[in-house]
Symmetry: C2
Subunit: 336 residues, 2 copies
DNA sequence: CTGTTAGCGCGTTCAC
DNA sequence: GTGAACGCGCTAACAG
């Protein structure tokens, strides 16, 4: 038994297909009598309109694309979850474009802007180039950025400058003056992630505001892994005048710092304070003081923005989400 | 400038739309001359066929649905990633149905089997009821289960009985005779997860094979959280005759056990051996001995199975993936 | 080999 | 208020 079509319903109800379509779409111009006739016919046939036919006719795909490097890190999943929360209750489906390489990212953008696959695009973390933005505009497909900014596109970002400031400031407030920073590679980040530069900026600002001079040797950059962070921390801690506190760009890296301290026999937080960034799941277990981002919320807000923009296009909006300091047991006054 | 249609291409190339369609679909019955004419026209117009129109005409949606409780635990993300690996290179899109409650799961199944939304369904972890299976069969939509089994549906499962056996056996081989097991709730698992029963069975089998009597008081069940596991472990370890080793249903719970041991001043692995299950990211950092599942591969194999089944439907297949023992530093001979 | 035509299922004028 | 006809862009079957 093939699925019933709108024609079957029309026939069964003794009306035209136009009328059926009208009751389906809440058009008011239908008499109560015929409306109920149609509705019972629909019920009897267990009829559901075909989404694909609907899309073709409407010229809208009713799906929104989410493009992101989801599987690199858990935080993307959390953002995606926020997106899901919003979209699940909408009439939109969403399809995921997982992008783990620059090549694939380009292919993805190219594809999307040419084909009519999505009604809107949610771009997580991967800042589009000006050219890509232009192409999206021209193809007239609404887009919003989550965790990334662009003057011509609506975006919701986390205030990473403030987050970096907050972390550093916390250390300063505890009395630290010698504060190391271990970050992701500032230059070579594959997609040019903004947060890398922003958190660093926050670190610098906090130092400056407190009248603490920035020391080049206290800033180490490396690939985003625990192992590498551990190596970097070891360098920092074996300096002639080592820092008494270390701020790590991510919790993962903070764990590397913890490991290095352990290897050197340094007690945390008595002899070394450590603060991370992200508040991933395991951080609570390890009592890591860290900066929490409102990841789920950022996904939600992004999806809401996009939905709104699909309805009425407007000027680019900007939403900035704050960060929270999560106080646990890896930070304390120096030499306590 | 609206996107070019097949008609525009036909006109520009001076041929009929049928011919254009033929070169698009690799039909061999086209002369080299006209084919190249068409291809240049396509290139000049930057033409891409409309997926939606194609779908309507074909009667296929070219998308496959993936339904799973993704965001509850990281392991789902890993499976999903495997799915993505396979589907990204296919012509299928995939859309995710995130299911976190039984109600939503039912709604999801209902929806999918009625509407023509997907060409195939990948169901992760959520075993469908017989009625749901029947409905899928009737709606003629291919489905495969990942991390779940059903006699009438192709599935790829991880051999959790063997995994539970492997974990327990490892402890026995080290010389332990008093082995506790902390598991998820056997009865009340919301969706009736199979792994819960299977790992328990593996535990029992290993015990039996080694001639060790099962002791009820050594088996504790509780909700899947570190906190609860910690509480349970505390109970176990304060028994008059406490176990010398504990097998935990998940790494998360194993961390709870570790915490309990720490609180009681028990040295791991000298005074207590602990083995987990999953090998989540942080486990390596914490040196947890555990059982690793081939999660990504299970997603891949599932997607491959589904794709194959969409092409030629056949009898249900079964793929069983082994588990690996990952030896680290939380297990040792008793009293070592 | 290739042009033409009839659907795919629905939304939407346009007359009645 | 309501039915009939047309079009969305493409594929497939049928002539030629």
């Amino acid at each position: 038994m093939a699925n019933a079509t709108i024609r079957d319903v029309a026939k069964k109800a003794g009306v035209g297909v136009g009328t059926v379509s009208r009751v389906l779409n809440q058009s008011t111009a239908v008499s109560a009598a015929t409306r109920s006739k149609v509705q019972t016919a629909i019920a009897e046939l267990d009829y559901t309109p075909s989404p694909i036919a609907r899309r073709l006719s409407l010229g809208r795909t009713m799906t929104i694309g989410v493009i992101a490097p989801f599987f690199i890190r858990p935080s993307y999943v959390e953002r995606l979850r926020g997106v899901d929360v919003v979209l699940a209750d909408s009439e939109y489906d969403f399809i995921i474009y997982n992008v783990e390489t620059v090549a694939r990212r380009d292919a993805c953008f190219h594809d999307i802007s040419r084909q009519e696959r999505v009604d809107g695009l949610l771009i997580i973390t991967l800042p589009p180039t000006d050219e890509e933005v232009a192409r999206l505009k021209q193809a007239n497909i609404p887009a919003v950025l989550v965790d990334g900014g662009h003057p011509q596109i609506s975006h919701v970002m986390i205030d990473d400058v403030a987050g970096g400031y907050q972390a550093t400031r916390h250390l300063i407030d505890l009395g630290h003056r010698k504060i190391g920073y271990i970050s992701d590679l500032l230059q070579e980040s594959p997609f040019g992630f903004r947060p890398v530069a922003d958190r660093y900026q926050g670190y610098r600002n906090a130092l400056a505001d407190a009248g603490i001079e920035f020391r080049t040797e206290y800033h180490r950059q490396g690939e985003l892994s625990r192992r590498e962070a551990s190596r970097l921390a070891h360098e920092l801690l074996t300096l002639p005048d080592p820092p008494t506190a270390i701020f790590a760009y991510s919790d993962t890296q903070a764990f590397g710092v913890l490991r290095a301290a352990q290897n050197l026999g340094l007690k945390v937080p008595e002899q070394l304070s450590v603060i991370g960034y992200d508040d991933i799941e395991i951080s609570e277990f390890l009592h890591l003081t860290t900066i929490r981002q409102h990841l789920l919320e950022s996904g939600q807000r992004g999806a809401e923005l996009l939905l709104a923009e699909i309805i009425h296009p407007g000027p680019p909006q900007e939403i900035i989400l704050p960060t929270d300091l999560v106080l646990r047991s890896t930070t304390a006054p120096p030499g306590s």
